[in-house]
Symmetry: none
Subunit: 205 residues, 4 copies
DNA sequence: TATGAATGAGGGTTCATTCAT
DNA sequence: TATGAATGAACCCTCATTCAT
């Protein structure tokens, strides 16, 4: 029983830490609170993480791992056309990430990038680059097949990802204040609608 | 001259504070550093701001004031069609805000919204609501004139603003690490290109 | 074998503790390290010693026991004159104590006397007093027989013991830094040479 | 008034720290206590010393400076014979050092040498080497003039210094427990008596 | 008997805030 | 008005001690 607990501890601690880091930021998060939220004493944290900074790194690195595989797998398995694929990817990302606690990581990363350049670098290389790769692949397929216009692919990737990012970020920032906020589904549908229309090749006329 | 200095002090202090708050976040910013950057001693800060939190509020409130007027003025003065107006607005926003230090405020606000709900509320009501109003106005004009499709206006507003926000945010977060980043102009042009195409009424065929 | 181990444990633990206490001092020594050096887990320490302080006391008390008997035995068995006896005692002390780990105890005791007055008291009464007794006996014999001058015996005892103590102390303090240090044998020989000459009765002229 | 205080602070803090470091050792000394003894709050310590270790180094380095000059000056100014000079030096050292708080530094250095090898090195080179130089000079003078026997000078230096060191050490270690202790003057006189007799050239017969 | 995960009081250090100058 | 020395509450981290296994 003790053994089972020991193995689960790091994940429990990282989950608690993620919540608080996202909510308050790194500097404003007290390890006391992290420990309390995970139901352990302060000292226990140090059995699993060398210090606050290492905990932070672990939270980021562990948090993004599950997301990476799924996205790339989706790309290889899907065999519809580029329009449908792009639509599915944007929708599923929200289901897989946006509705979980992991959605807080982008906000956290944005907030703390300046204080942890190496972690930001790591995040960029392991998440952003791969995420952008997924979108790039779809855009290139669509352009190659004539479905999409020949837009500037690299710029378009960022433009496409921006509303997805903002949706996740919003939830953990201004979304928590009393700001009349929309339904994520409507937001996503509108994003995809505008995007697909925007990408549509002129020949459709 | 002393008098002149005295009147300039608050602005100098807020400018210094804005830079550091944006770079490091509220909690990780030391008042010592703010004072040093403004070229005064730590105690002087307290002659102008009751405490760190009041300084933060002042930074936000002063920072957004200049932006507000300009945008709304643009709307009333412009008499081209909706397409052109939307394009001009998105481009000019970057010129007026994106290239100055004020562009850091969105990032700062996102990072600290959870710790300062009242400030977030204030920011939402005085910046977001008004900014959204500008976009809404343009969209409604375009839809009314038949230039734009009848999209979900409220959702579209957020989708349209997202890439603009991300452009500003990026500069103060991951943009400072070694991430192969694009040119803002290309990014904006692509955003506007996709957007206008996406909004374009089907009847153009 | 398990039984044998169990009986050897306290001694092993005390040996490990002595080394570390001498090297780092009581407060700076971690029980983790003591346990690791003895090849057991931290908890095991508490099966044999109630707490860190008791371990310290045991280390001192056990450490000095073997030294006590030997010295006094030497005194009774030796039947040469006072000069030879004094010489033998000082040399043998170094052989029996100075070259073993026990030589660290004087340094440890000096360092921690202020923090453990009762232990210091115990050490004084059981080691210093008896050690001084040995020297006193020799001096008195020598003075009675006319070999030695009639020096102030109590003061002379301390003066005689000082170089012996310093030789042991040095090994565990400054001796471990890069300080050009002499050979203990030469040091001892010079000490004894000076001492015997210094004690020599004037009549020898 | 504030200014005057500011300049006196470091010395006050080091004096307080020296007392406690000598009494309890480095690790067992709380900065709270140091501050309290100096009559300031804990934070004030950090206005003058970067951390506990730097405070320690400052205590050692500042503590020994005054002693160095005096000893060497004495040597050059004295013009009696070697016997008298040696006697005066040993006596005066006690007056200048032994009766002040500085006498605790040898004990402190011995206790902490293992934990601060660089400080130990510094102490050896700046105190021990110079102190030994003083004694060496006197011995060589005495041997050259025929007053002293041709003893092993380097070994003799350490033998001669040992009782002096022990006198100082004792005061801050076992001397504080209930150990029947002698009068320093008698101790010193006996030391010098034995020593000068021990060094005396045989030819005087 | 032995382990090592867990605890929590305690100490070093930081920094927002105050106030005498 | 401006300074910067001083304060002390708060936080990170350590480590002696406990206890379930």
């Amino acid at each position: 029983m003790r053994q089972r607990r020991k193995e689960a501890r790091p994940a429990e601690l990282m989950a608690a830490a993620l919540d608080l880091f996202v909510e308050r930021g790194f500097a404003a998060t007290k390890l006391d609170d992290v420990a309390a939220r995970a139901g352990v004493s302060k000292g226990t944290l140090y059995l699993y993480f060398a210090n606050k900074e290492e905990l932070f790194k672990a939270v980021i690195q562990q948090g993004i791992l599950p997301v990476l595989a799924q996205g790339e797998e989706m790309l290889t398995q899907f065999d519809g056309d580029a329009r449908a694929l792009l639509q599915v990817m944007l929708m599923r990302w929200w289901e897989l990430v946006g509705t979980t606690h992991l959605a807080g990581i982008p906000k956290l990363m944005i907030s703390e990038a300046g204080n942890f350049p190496e972690v930001a670098q790591y995040y960029y290389e392991n998440v952003m680059v791969r995420g952008r790769g997924l979108i790039r692949e779809v855009l290139q397929r669509g352009i190659a097949s004539g479905q999409f216009r020949a837009v500037d692919v690299e710029a378009a990737i960022d433009v496409i990802l921006a509303p997805q990012m903002m949706l996740a970020i919003w939830r953990y920032s201004l979304g928590s204040c009393d700001c009349g906020k929309q339904d994520p589904q409507t937001y996503l549908r509108t994003h995809i609608d505008l995007l697909l229309n925007g990408l549509m090749a002129a020949e459709k006329k």
